[in-house]
C-alpha cells in the first residue's frame, strides 16, 4: 500500500499494524526517514507531489520490488506539505519469508524514493528557501540495483 500524507504520522503505529497477524512472514524490515534540523540550518522542509502521478510512479517500482524480492507485503508512507525537523518524512516496511529479501527490498525502495520518485523538495532555513536537486550519492546508491547488460 502507498499513501501520501498531509499530516505527521507515527512510524511505530504503522509498524505494529503492518506486523499484526503475520504468522507466515518471518521477516519485516523497515526504514524511517526523519527530517534533520542540521543544527538549525533547516527550519522546515516542503515536499510537493503530483497526486495520482506520484503514487502511480511509486507503485510501479513497488511492484518491481515485490517480484524481484518475493515480498509478501509492503507499506510505503510519504509525507507531503510542510515538515518540521524531527518529523518523519518517509516510512517503508517490507515483509518476506527471510530477512535478506526484506532488507534488500526496503533498501531498494528507499533508494528509489530518495532519488527518483516524483517529489519536489524545498528547504527553508535562516538564509531563505531553496529547491533541492538529487544528491550525487543517491544516484550512486540507485546504480547498485541496475543489472549489468
Amino acid at each position: 500500500m502507498i499513501r501520501l500524507l498531509q499530516q505527521s504520522f507515527d512510524p511505530g503505529a504503522e509498524l505494529s499494524a503492518f506486523c499484526q497477524g503475520r504468522q507466515e512472514v518471518g521477516a519485516v524490515a523497515s526504514f524511517t526517514g526523519i527530517a534533520r534540523a542540521e543544527q538549525g540550518r533547516t527550519e522546515t522542509l516542503e515536499l510537493e507531489a503530483y497526486p495520482g502521478f506520484t503514487e502511480a510512479a511509486i507503485g510501479e517500482i513497488a511492484r518491481e520490488a515485490e517480484t524481484r524480492f518475493g515480498l509478501q507485503a509492503y507499506l510505503i508512507l510519504h509525507r507531503v506539505g510542510t515538515i518540521a525537523p524531527g518529523e518523519p518524512i518517509v516510512f517503508v516496511a517490507t515483509a518476506s519469508a527471510h530477512r535478506r529479501e526484506a532488507f534488500e527490498a526496503c533498501d531498494f525502495l528507499m533508494d528509489y524514493l530518495k532519488s527518483r520518485a516524483p517529489f519536489w523538495k524545498k528547504e527553508t532555513g535562516p538564509d531563505g528557501s531553496r529547491w533541492i536537486e538529487p544528491r550525487a550519492s543517491d544516484l550512486t546508491d540507485l546504480a547498485r540495483w541496475e543489472t549489468k547488460p
Binding site: 510537493e48 502521478f53 517529489f119 533541492i132
Partner: protein
C-alpha cells in the same frame, strides 16, 4: 482549453501552480508559455524538465482536448 500544472521551482518562477490555458497542442501551449515570461521559458527548456500529459510522461508533441491535463515537472528530487 487544458489544465496546466507547474511543480517545484517552475511553479515559483511562473507565480502559479494551476491554470486553464487555451491551446490546440502541447507545443502550442509551450510556445504560449514561452511568450509570457523569458525566465520561465528558459527554465522550461532546462535539463531534466519533463512534461506529463494526463499523468503520463510525454515525448514529442500531442493534441490537447478540453479535459487535458498538462504538467511541467522539474527534475524529481526524491523525498
Amino acid at each position: 482549453m487544458a489544465r496546466v500544472l507547474m511543480f517545484g521551482r517552475l511553479a515559483d518562477l511562473a507565480g502559479w501552480r494551476d491554470r486553464l490555458i487555451e491551446a490546440p497542442t502541447v507545443s502550442a501551449l509551450r510556445a504560449h508559455l514561452d511568450s509570457l515570461d523569458a525566465q520561465l521559458a528558459e527554465a522550461l527548456a532546462g535539463p531534466g524538465v519533463q512534461v506529463a500529459l494526463d499523468q503520463v510522461l510525454l515525448r514529442g508533441d500531442a493534441p490537447l482536448n478540453p479535459n487535458s491535463e498538462v504538467a511541467f515537472l522539474p527534475p524529481m528530487s526524491g523525498g
